[in-house]
């Protein structure tokens, strides 16, 4: 019902009068499909909580990789009558009922990361993010343009939708791609498996990892397998930053997911205080972003504090 994009310009300046309702700070619940301890989602969380601190918004972050459990967390937020809801939709079908219930209860919803195509249909105010598939596609295309012909895409958590979307995207953007499952819980296993894969197929000349820690293992593995494969990765940490500086890692895909956490809080705050909306019905894209030798120095310090 209240999903229509309001006719408003996104003037980021002073909130004039608006319908500044009740006095106290507003409560926003962020519910994502990241698994506990996932490095990508931790940056999203940091973005949301930082925004909350700066804007005086109470942000609570919860996540569950199981779509059913995630929808129950949304129900929970609805039962709490939060003033705003931020949801990542890796499994839009599973969340449909819960999100629609939230919308029906008058809670403004903003979707982030994935689920861009269903966002408006479910009644969300806006969508912030970049589809995992598109991110993968761009990474693949970038490797292809570097003249690579055979890609190994390393999935570190079996059955994770986001990760598999990234590799699927990479395949679309790149061409000949093999997926390799490794277990992020066991670093030795990660390195040994990548090494084994490189040893068996010496034509592999590019490795795409989806987590900074895996990227470093891939670098070591390539070295020990005497493979010339180029390593690229999703996301950053301080070790990846130095590896980019030294040229061991070609680039890191940076979805700027900090914004996927930060912007929705800003948008909900504006909507709450001033009935502003952003994007005019179009998704707000946080990517593409690539960190390579050219810009690595700039982002290095931010990666270390968990915001890139």
């Amino acid at each position: 019902a209240c999903s229509g994009p309001a006719s408003s310009s996104s003037s980021g300046g002073s909130a004039a009068n608006g319908s500044a309702t009740s006095g106290g700070p507003i409560n926003v619940a962020v519910v994502t499909h990241g698994s506990a301890g996932d490095s990508f989602w931790n940056v999203v969380k940091n973005g949301a909580t930082d925004a909350g601190k700066q804007l005086g918004v109470n942000v609570t972050y919860n996540s569950d990789g199981d779509p059913g459990a995630q929808s129950k967390l949304i129900d929970n937020a609805v039962a709490q009558h939060v003033d705003g809801l931020v949801v990542s939709m890796a499994n839009p079908d599973a969340l449909k009922t819960s999100i629609q219930a939230a919308v029906k209860a008058g809670i403004p919803v903003i979707t982030i990361n994935s689920g861009q195509s269903q966002s408006a249909a479910f009644g969300a105010l806006a969508h912030v993010g970049q589809d995992e598939g598109i991110a993968g596609q761009q990474a693949g295309a970038k490797l292809k343009s570097a003249g690579k012909t055979n890609l190994l895409c390393v999935i570190h958590e079996a059955g994770n939708v986001g990760l598999s979307q990234r590799c699927d995207g990479a395949k679309q953007g790149f061409g000949k791609t093999t997926n390799l499952q490794v277990d992020i819980n066991n670093p030795t296993d990660v390195e040994a498996k990548i090494k084994g894969a490189l040893q068996t197929d010496s034509s592999i000349d590019a490795v795409l990892t989806l987590n900074p820690q895996i990227a470093l293992s891939a670098v070591n593995a390539a070295k020990e397998a005497n493979s010339k494969a180029t390593v690229a990765t999703f996301d950053l940490n301080s070790d990846v930053v130095s590896a980019i500086k030294s040229g061991q890692i070609a680039f890191a895909v940076d979805q700027q997911q900090y914004e996927q956490g930060y912007l929705p809080i800003v948008m909900l705050k504006l909507y709450h205080d001033n009935a502003n909306t952003v994007g005019g019905g179009q998704p707000v894209l946080t990517g593409p972003g690539f960190v390579d030798k050219s810009n690595v120095d700039k982002v290095a310090q931010y990666a270390a504090r968990g915001t890139r």
């Binding site: 059913g68 039962a79 958590e157 059955g159 598999s164």
Partner: protein
Amino acid sequence: MSDFSGTLTTDERIASPSLLNRLAVRPEIGALIGALVVFVFFTVITSQFVTPAGISTWLDTSATIGIVSVAVALLMIGGEFDLSAGVMTASTSLVTAMLATKLGVNVWLAILVSLVFALAVGAFNGWLVMRTKLPSFIVTLGTFFALQGINLGVTTLVTGTVQVSGIATAPGYASAGYLFASTFSLAGTSFPISIVWWIVVTALAAWVLVRTRFGNWIFAVGGSAASSRAVGVPVGRSKIVLFMTTAGAAWLVGTINILRFTTVQANQGIGLEFEYIIAAVIGGCLLTGGFGSAVGAAIGALIFGMANQGIVYAHWNSDWFKLFLGIMLLAAVLVNNGFRARAERVRR
């Protein structure tokens, strides 16, 4: 024994047990008190916990854990263990979803086929345990891994992705959804039907356990398989039926999930096996078999659901969630154990 004098009800060797002691004899009493404590705690520190909408969320969470944990409790009383129950919830969802969306099979038929699949795996677990006399921990750990591999392998093979969705448009979805995934209204709030299933399963299990001959056999095969076999209890058959019951309960939850959320992910369900076991243990089941209660396991699941959602209501940082869970588990088991020790002293 020998020349006991006195009537049937008095024996000078028994000091009179107090009322408290008499209450403490039931296996579920520890869980009940634990549930009360958790309930009161979250009621006091949060404002939404006892609103109808709040109650609905934690009953919802409890229900899907509870349905399987009650079956797991029967299995544990029967002296066995099932680590594959969690993954089984995903496997059955996947079978149903793939049949309905990829082959266009009627949802009812798909549900039926996935039930047959679940029962077959359960029977295989039981058969292997009985046949090889290996501990069920090991055998079902094997099934746990095998099912995980099958879930992921088959899903990517068939769909090219790691999830199956789109069952909502399959024939028969409406009627099946009504039975397994609808909601009912109470006090102006909608409650999922899974809560009803949970209550039905618990009542049925409690009845079977305490009132029927098969229930007697469950206690017996768990307490001492050799003694039971010696008096003619069909030990193998009973245990296989228990494994099948557990798989069947996992199927029920899988069916509820797929019909309600209309999509399923290949890595779902991993780790739930521990939650079922925890609920059963909190509910008073002995890990070594022969002792426990179905109602206790249901209460264990209730504690689990309340804590799970209560932490969210209390706005605690979710990073620490597992720590709370661990402490809660230890605390619940310790309280429970205290009660059991007391109960065992009184019992005689």
